[in-house]
Amino acid sequence: MATDPQQLDQSLGHDDVLAQARQWQDAGRGVAIATVVSTWGSSPRPVGSQLVVSDRQDMVGSVSGGCVEGAVVEAAQQVMQDGTPKLLDFGVTNSQAWEVGLACGGKIEVYVEKLETADEA
């Protein structure tokens, strides 16, 4: 499901997930961009961390230590379809429930937006 980092374009700079977003769109794929916009307590990735998702559920970058990426990829598919951005909240994992959350005990807010094509502008 996730793209093997080895298969990413090596000509891109380190951690240049936005350049990857452009490449995927140029290759005809739907693309969404997820950004950590706020954090409380101990959170695995700082504000500004980004995850780019394609409509084939490829992903590059990260918004957590792997705890919530699955849920973000899922939400991103909806955002790509209807074009409406979403603000997602993730809190502490409740071990009694099967919900997605952060084992580290922090809270994060992730903004997910569609990358519009040049035609949509």
Binding site: A19, R22, V37, P46, G48, K114
Partner: protein, 240 residues
């Protein structure tokens, strides 16, 4: 995000220009702020512009309250840079490690056969003298400089240039004895205690590193500490 805005943002990054992306979180309206001007559909007030400049200085995004809904400001600073003087064995590990850590790396060594692309795949290598090479590089407050040659002919001119720059980290390989002799030479060149305090020497955190790779780890750890911890400590001191 509109494609046009992404193109502008990537162009600013390629040109190593600082940029801030402003997003109204409830509507998705965005503008890109570069060089004091805003492009996009989100109206940017002078107070938002000023907050945007703050995020660049802090190198940290944040959400600000605004009429019509909160605005998230995300700074995109030019990359951190690492200049390594001495294309030696430690540099062969430190250079790719710095690259992976997010630095634009330049390895400098005028000696024949040292700064060869074969020894440093995918890394920018320069065979100019360190003073000329650093003049060309124009180190700023997001640059780290590490000297690894032990050779005063190469290290000293680099350190003199480094001390006259705003580099956030200056490190110099060598034993305590070598370092004392180095400071003695720099003091004859007119540098003083305040300058010496900026030089990490012997270089690297004390983790008992032995191999070239372990020494590179200790240097990278110390550079990271200087980048992340020093500003935090300064902010704490200012608030107190």
């Amino acid at each position: 995000m509109k494609r046009d805005l992404l193109d502008r943002l990537l162009a600013a990054k390629a040109a190593k220009q600082p940029a801030v992306l402003a997003t109204r979180l409830n509507t998705g309206e965005q503008s890109l702020l570069t060089g004091g001007a805003a492009t996009g559909e989100l109206a940017v007030s002078p107070s938002i512009q000023s907050s945007a400049n703050d995020t660049l200085r802090a190198d940290k995004g944040r959400t600000v309250e605004a009429d019509g809904g909160d605005i998230f400001l995300q700074p995109f600073n030019p990359p951190l840079r690492m200049a390594i003087i001495g294309a030696v064995h430690i540099a062969q590990v430190l250079a790719p490690m710095s690259d992976l850590t997010g630095y634009d790396v330049t390895v400098i060594d005028p000696r024949h056969g040292f700064a060869s692309p074969d020894r440093f795949p995918h890394i920018s290598v320069v065979d100019d003298w360190p003073d000329e090479a650093l003049d060309a590089l124009a180190p700023d407050s997001r640059t780290a400089i590490v000297t690894l040659t032990h050779d005063p002919k190469l290290d000293d001119p680099a350190l003199e240039r480094a001390l006259r720059s705003d580099a956030f980290y200056i490190g110099s390989l060598g034993s305590k004895k070598t370092h004392a002799a180095r400071l003695e030479r720099l003091s004859r060149a007119g540098f003083g205690d305040a300058d010496f305090a900026r030089i990490h020497g012997p270089v690297g955190l004390a983790i008992g590193a032995r191999s070239p790779a372990e020494i590179a780890v200790s240097i990278m750890a110390q550079v990271t500490q200087a980048l992340r911890e020093a500003p935090a400590l300064a902010a704490t001191a200012a608030a107190a």
